[in-house]
Every structure is written in structure tokens, then in C-alpha cells.
Symmetry: C2
Subunit: 149 residues, 2 copies
């Protein structure tokens, strides 16, 4: 299969609010008041968890089909801890992002625990968001202004 | 500083559409028709890029303040390539997620190229989403159903 390219474009509306366009969709990202924001949307690290939930749903259904059981629905709760000290520049001791991400998945189905255990393993192994969070990905961050200079 | 905990809850509405709650916010995730979805929202890997854009905006403003220049706004374009073969189960050769993420940032400001180069480096080093994408993060994926069994 050929690679797929996904892209987004974003504009800052204020120091914490970002309006992102992905195809025809508009995504509003902000920070809550206690993190200095205008609270008009979920924040970046919440969106990262949301993306992972969406991916688990898609993968869960693809793999249930492969394992030949009916998956009626999935409920997911997800959380992560991060220390904001590095972000705010007060200490560089901890990493910037989530130290860990904890996920509880509740599938509505009649599959056996053995089948569900295979199902879960395949989700973890084949989910794009899980891969990008649990493994390292090269990022190229460039300034457009400098390129034009 | 103490760790902050972020959490979301999600429900599948169909095999590709997921409704995520983050505090008071609802996030709709889906897949486009050509990936088997009902196209009611951006898809998980687009949300992952959106999260990164939102984080760059927040960090860009925090660090501009530290470096003492006025940042009027930021435009960001971001893209990533992934091969869907592993996701769909047709080949396990490639990784599941983005192989790389390319970001172009266009800050509207009067800072010198030297200051902007420091600015960019600090964003990359201190942005939580950048950290979670470019470095490895432990993920614990558990079944709620199995725990109750």
C-alpha cells in the first residue's frame, strides 16, 4: 500500500487559542483559565488523548471483524500525568509531556477473555496513534520566516 | 510543581465515529469515506497533528515572552506520512503511525533570525505534545471487562 499524507493548517487566534483546519473540519484548541487560557476548547494534551480514543475505536472494530466477533460499542476512559514545570520554564528536570498514559477499554461484546486479550494486543500493535505515542517519531520543525530571509 | 492529570472519556457511535468528552468539551472524531468512515469529523491522526499545532501556539507565546519579543500571531502547516497497511492488517512491515512529521511555523513578529532560532529550539524542547511524539511514552492499555470477570 502507498503512504497516505495527512495535513492540517493552524492559526493562532490568541496566545492560547488555536484554530486548526483539517480538510473541511475546524478544530478549536485552547487552555482552561487556570492554565492562562480563554477556555474555548479542549487543550492540546486533551486532544492528544482524544485522538488516541478515536484510533482505538477504529482499530477495535477492524480487529473485531478479523477475530470474527460482533463489537456493539466501546467505552474508553483515558488519563495521563504531566508536570507543567518544563513547559512554564521553571524546571527542566521532568520531561515535558505525559509521563504515562493509562487507558481502560470497555467493549460491549460476547467475546471470550482469550479473544479479547488478542484483540487488545492487536489494537496496541496496529493503532497509528498508539505507535506515535509509545515510540519515537522524527519531527522536522522549521521556520517559514527564516527560509524566506 | 505538582503533576497535572488530564482525562477524557469516549464512546463509539459507530465503527469509525467516536464522541470524546474532555471537561465540558465534546470532540467528534471520524474517518473520511475513502477510509471506510462516515466523515463527521477529522480523523484520529489529523487530531494528533491538530494537538501539536495547539501546543506550538501556546509554547510559542510563552517563549516569546521569555525572549522578550512581541509575537503577534503564528501560522502553522503540518503534515505526516503513514502507511495504512499495518492498520488494515495487510502487511506488518512498516510502522503503524506517522513515519515523520513535518512542521512549518510562520511567526508574525520582528525578532531576529538568531532569536527565532532559539525560540524554535525551546518550543521543540518544552512542548508536551512534541515530547510525546518524538520520544517514547509508556502506555497501559487495559480491558475493563476482563477486570470485572
Amino acid at each position: 500500500m502507498a503512504d497516505l499524507k495527512f495535513r492540517v493548517k493552524a492559526q493562532s487566534e490568541n496566545p492560547t487559542k488555536t484554530v486548526v483546519k483539517a480538510r473541511g473540519f475546524e478544530i478549536i484548541i485552547d487552555e482552561p483559565a487556570n492554565l492562562g487560557g480563554t477556555n474555548e476548547g479542549a487543550n492540546p494534551v486533551e486532544y492528544m488523548l482524544a485522538a488516541f480514543c478515536g484510533c482505538i475505536n477504529v482499530m477495535g472494530h477492524i480487529i473485531a471483524k478479523e477475530l470474527d466477533f460482533e463489537l456493539r460499542s466501546i467505552d474508553i476512559s483515558m488519563s495521563g500525568n504531566l508536570n507543567p514545570a518544563r513547559l512554564f520554564g521553571s524546571s527542566m528536570e521532568d520531561r515535558a509531556g505525559y509521563k504515562n498514559i493509562e487507558v481502560f477499554i470497555e467493549p460491549d461484546c460476547d467475546a471470550s477473555p482469550e479473544v479479547l486479550s488478542k484483540w487488545l494486543e492487536a489494537i496496541e500493535n496496529r493503532c497509528p496513534v498508539s505507535d506515535n505515542l509509545s515510540n519515537s517519531t522524527p519531527i522536522s520543525l522549521k521556520l517559514k520566516a527564516l527560509q524566506l530571509a
